[in-house]
């Protein structure tokens, strides 16, 4: 295998990682600040993709579509937070699991009712089609490069938001000690709503960015949701840094395992078995990594003891 | 009176958390029928020390001896089985169970898993008479059927003590049992501990000086991980070193 191909695959892994990061950042914040296990987070991913597809179909403008993928999920997030989620903060995790599981059913069926059972169309704009030549003769997809850059910007943005702004301080206070933010006289319910909406918007953005190169369909959020949970657990719940590192780890590992495991097994066994075993193991790799991390660090890489 | 026996003996205990020294060459002994109190300002390392005795933490250096045997390598659970029983700073009871059941848990604790699976959680006559005896000793008998989480703070502390006693300890490690008790409850507990210490060695960590001075046979003073003075109540009262470090000259 050439070095170029290897680097291209590495970039693919990183791109996948940043996409997972967009999903997990919100999830980990919501868990860290409100202590809420939000299974419905994948639904915001789906809502983001559907609203982008809808707006793109209406206006033909991809950038308006991306904007919509931030706004609609945030608005729906606020509505749901107001009407249902708010009542769950004081409940134990189990009630949250049941309620947000029910929300998945509601969101999925409502989306199917509105948009029909077939996948929707969402494509990237012409200027982002095709490839770009990176230094070292590496051919790489323009759009995927853009996803990496957006992911980087959002990671940096979140870093500044958490460490340099009042909202960030409140969020950190909330993560450390829920009593403390009351003492500090912070409007908790507003803080919670903002965090929830922010998480929903990030998930929606991820949905739209990914929807443009995959398929916009009902149920697209759940597989990503499970991986995002894997990411935040590896990183340590509540830690944005952990989410970033966990996401990149999973992204690169998953891509590399898909690439190398079948090749590796072909060395030691017959081809068709090797392909099948290799790809089975590649599918398990993320979970294997999570299990290993938890065996050695029961609260994730950057989690609090 | 039985001969004086060393129940607990610490020698040369050292412990660091990173750069912070929390125990520096600590040596002390608790002998039978003695209440040995450990006092010291917040952050002096008292709770760390009790954790090293109970086995939750391991010292970096030094020896912990329980009944003349080195127990450094033993886990917390193994030390409990050797009779080293501990109470917590915050009342540690099973809130959803009744007072009786809480004590019954303590009575039944020695069974193996298999035996535990095949025995009903019921007391036989000898067990229940033992539970009632413990309840009477701590004057909890009227609260027998109350759910533990509904008890008053003082009663919760008593229940915790009752659970510790019900396990038949060789030595009791008490971590601030007086914390949060009002005057009346405090003096009741003092009386109680006075009667218990007659035939039970106790290692007590406490802030409440009144209680310590009323109860202790021997006092050690811990400051910044070091024992700066050790001796009888009178000696400690008079010690300039102690007053400077901790008591602020008030006594």
């Amino acid at each position: 295998m050439s070095l170029q191909l290897f680097i291209e695959q590495l970039l693919n892994g990183i791109q996948f990682g940043f996409m997972l990061f967009l999903m997990s950042a919100g999830l980990t914040l919501i868990f860290g600040v409100m202590g809420l296990i939000n299974l419905a987070h994948g639904s915001f991913f789906m809502i983001g993709a559907f609203s982008a597809s809808f707006v793109a179909g209406l206006t033909g403008n991809f950038f308006l579509a991306i904007l919509a993928s931030l706004i609609f999920p945030a608005l729906i997030g606020i509505t749901v937070e107001f009407s249902i989620i708010r009542k769950l903060y004081e409940r134990d995790h189990l009630d949250q699991v049941l309620a947000t599981f029910a929300l998945i059913l509601i969101f999925s069926e409502a989306t199917r009712y509105i948009f029909g059972a077939f996948p929707l169309f969402l494509d990237i704009p012409n200027i982002l089609q095709g490839n770009i030549l990176l230094p070292g003769e590496i051919v790489y997809s323009k759009y995927r490069l853009i996803i990496i850059i957006i992911g980087l910007f959002i990671a940096i943005g979140l870093y500044f938001l958490i460490n340099r702004t009042l909202l960030g301080i409140q969020i950190k206070a909330g993560q450390n000690d829920r009593q403390m933010i009351r003492v500090l006289g912070i409007n908790i319910s507003r803080l919670y709503t903002i965090v929830f909406a922010m998480g929903a918007a990030l998930a929606g953005l991820a949905g739209a960015l990914i929807g443009a190169i995959q398929s916009v369909e009902v149920g697209m959020g759940e597989p990503v949701l499970i991986l995002a949970f894997v990411v935040i657990v590896i990183g340590g719940i509540g830690s944005i840094k952990g989410a970033l590192i966990g996401a990149l780890l999973i992204g690169v590992l998953d891509t590399m395992a898909r690439l190398f495991l079948p090749i590796f097994f072909e060395l030691i066994m017959e081809t068709s078995q090797a392909l099948s075993l290799g790809s089975s193991l590649a599918s398990m790799s993320a979970y294997l990594l999570m299990a290993l991390v938890l065996i050695f660090r029961p609260t994730g890489l950057f989690g609090k003891k | 009176m039985a001969e004086k026996k060393e129940i607990l003996k610490l020698s040369g205990i050292n412990k660091c958390f990173g750069n912070v020294v929390v125990a520096k060459d600590i040596s002390l002994t608790v002998i039978s029928n003695q209440l040995h109190a450990l006092i010291g300002p917040n952050g002096a390392g008292k709770t760390t020390l009790i954790k090293m005795i109970s086995g939750e933490l391991k010292p970096d250096q030094g020896v912990v001896m329980l009944l003349d045997r080195k127990v450094n390598h033993l886990s917390e659970i193994a030390r409990v089985h050797r009779g080293c029983i501990r109470s917590f700073q915050v009342s540690s009871i099973i809130g959803s169970m009744t007072v009786f059941e809480n004590i019954l848990l303590a009575v039944k604790q020695k069974r193996s898993i298999l035996k535990m699976l095949f025995r009903k959680f019921q007391s036989n006559s000898s067990e229940s008479s033992f539970v009632y005896q413990t309840l009477n000793q701590l004057s909890l008998e009227t609260l027998e059927t109350k759910v533990a989480s509904t008890l008053s703070h003082g009663d919760k502390r008593k229940l915790e003590l009752a659970m510790a006693l019900a396990m038949g300890p060789k030595i009791l490690l008490l971590d601030e049992p007086f914390a949060g008790l009002d005057q009346a409850e405090s003096s009741k507990l003092i009386e109680l501990l006075k009667s218990i210490k007659k035939n039970m060695p106790i290692f007590l960590i406490e802030h409440d000086m009144q209680a310590v001075f009323a109860l202790a046979d021997k006092i050690s003073v811990l400051n910044e991980g070091e024992i700066i003075e050790s001796g009888s109540v009178e000696k400690i009262r008079r010690s300039k070193l102690v007053q400077n470090a901790y008591l602020g000259g008030d006594l």
């Binding site: 868990f31 296990i37 249902i84 769950l88 409940r91 995790h93 189990l94 009630d95 699991v97 049941l98 309620a99 599981f101 029910a102 929300l103 998945i104 059913l105 999925s108 069926e109 409502a110 199917r112 009712y113 499970i226 949970f229 657990v233 099948s276 075993l277 089975s280 398990m284 979970y287 294997l288 999570m290 299990a291 938890l294 065996i295 029961p298 994730g300 989690g303 | 917390e76 659970i77 409990v80 089985h81 501990r86 917590f88 540690s92 009871i93 099973i94 169970m97 059941e101 848990l105 039944k108 604790q109 020695k110 069974r111 898993i113 035996k115 535990m116 699976l117 025995r119 009903k120 959680f121």
Partner: protein
């Protein structure tokens, strides 16, 4: 309001009556539904042993359900096609005997539970939820690629296994077999939670530190409970194979784990047999709503949300007084 004993009795008799009504009215599907309720109820109650009483939220119980299913199905499959499995020491020819296949399912799921539990119980809280999920996902992906036994297509056993000389293909007979299993499992679980062990387990859920200071090892306690729960879930899996005469990786998927948790919470995790009521409510809702509207999942979602918000103790909380 009822006492817990009366509640249990009414639920169990209710299920039995439901299937009898099906029999009398010649609506065998009622019996099939009741059988499904019983089987999922068994799995739910087993999960509740560790979830409600041990405080361990396992998001990977589909693994034990699926392992039990696959073991029973593979044994039945080999007995049917006459191919034997070479186990080095001897050749295993499979079996069409229910009792034997149940036994195998229980042994294997216990074994899995022992391994998974001994690793997972080192963690707690959300980390425990996720590590159990991780193991279940691994077995799920393994089964997808295991083409010898059908991979994603699953494995058909065509007929139910035999038990003595009972005609197990008759819905009522099979229901009674499952119902008997439910009674036995109910007795065992009830015994466990009322034993010394069960009470220490409850203690563990509330205050692990205290259990240590009582000289008990919470790890062993929890692991034992985990293994018991896994074993019973495996039995439910084996029964489910006989109900459907079929097994597929779906029974190992995270959705199955999620549904088991839903049964537990819906019914109420504070009561041992809450999940049985959860299974009744969930399956009947699924059935009833599915016949009324195509968008039944939407309405199921709405009902579940309302139940969480307004009946925090689950449906069983409505009937049982504290």
């Amino acid at each position: 309001m009822l006492t817990e004993k009366k509640f249990n009795l009414i639920i169990v008799l209710g299920i039995f009556a439901f299937s009898l009504i099906g029999y009398v009215m010649n609506e065998p599907y009622f019996i099939t539904l009741a059988t499904k309720i019983v089987i999922l109820g068994i799995a739910g109650c087993a999960l509740n042993l560790i979830l409600g009483f041990g405080g361990m939220v396992s998001f990977g119980h589909a693994m034990f359900f699926g392992v039990g299913s696959y073991v029973a199905a593979i044994s039945a499959f080999h007995s049917m096609n006459g191919e034997s499995i070479d186990l080095i020491f001897f050749d295993f020819n499979g079996s069409s005997q229910m009792l034997f296949n149940w036994f195998l399912a229980v042994i294997f799921s216990m074994f899995f539970a022992l391994i998974v539990g001994s690793i997972s119980i080192r963690t707690s809280g959300v980390y425990f939820i996720m590590i159990t999920l991780a193991f279940a996902q691994m077995t799920y992906y393994f089964s997808l690629g295991w083409t010898k036994y059908g991979g994603e297509d699953g494995l058909s056993t065509y007929v139910r296994n035999d038990l003595f000389s009972i005609n197990t293909m008759l819905p009522l007979n099979f229901f009674i077999i499952c119902f008997a299993c439910l009674c036995v499992v109910g007795f065992i679980l009830n015994w466990v939670i009322n034993s010394n062990f069960g009470n220490f387990l409850k203690g563990c859920k509330e205050n692990e530190e205290k259990m240590i200071s009582l000289g008990l090892n919470p790890y062993t306690l929890k692991l034992t409970a985990f293994v018991i729960s896994g074993a019973i879930t495996g039995l439910a899996g084996a029964l489910y194979v006989d109900l459907n005469r079929f097994v597929s990786p779906t029974s190992l998927s995270w959705q199955t784990s999620g549904e088991l948790i839903v049964l537990v919470i819906l019914g109420g995790s504070a009561r041992l047999f809450g999940p049985l009521l959860g299974a009744i409510v969930f399956i009947l809702l699924e059935q009833f709503l599915g016949e009324v509207t195509e968008n039944w999942q939407f309405w199921l979602g709405v009902i579940l949300v309302l139940i969480v918000l307004y009946f925090p103790k689950g449906v069983s909380g409505l009937f049982i007084k504290d």
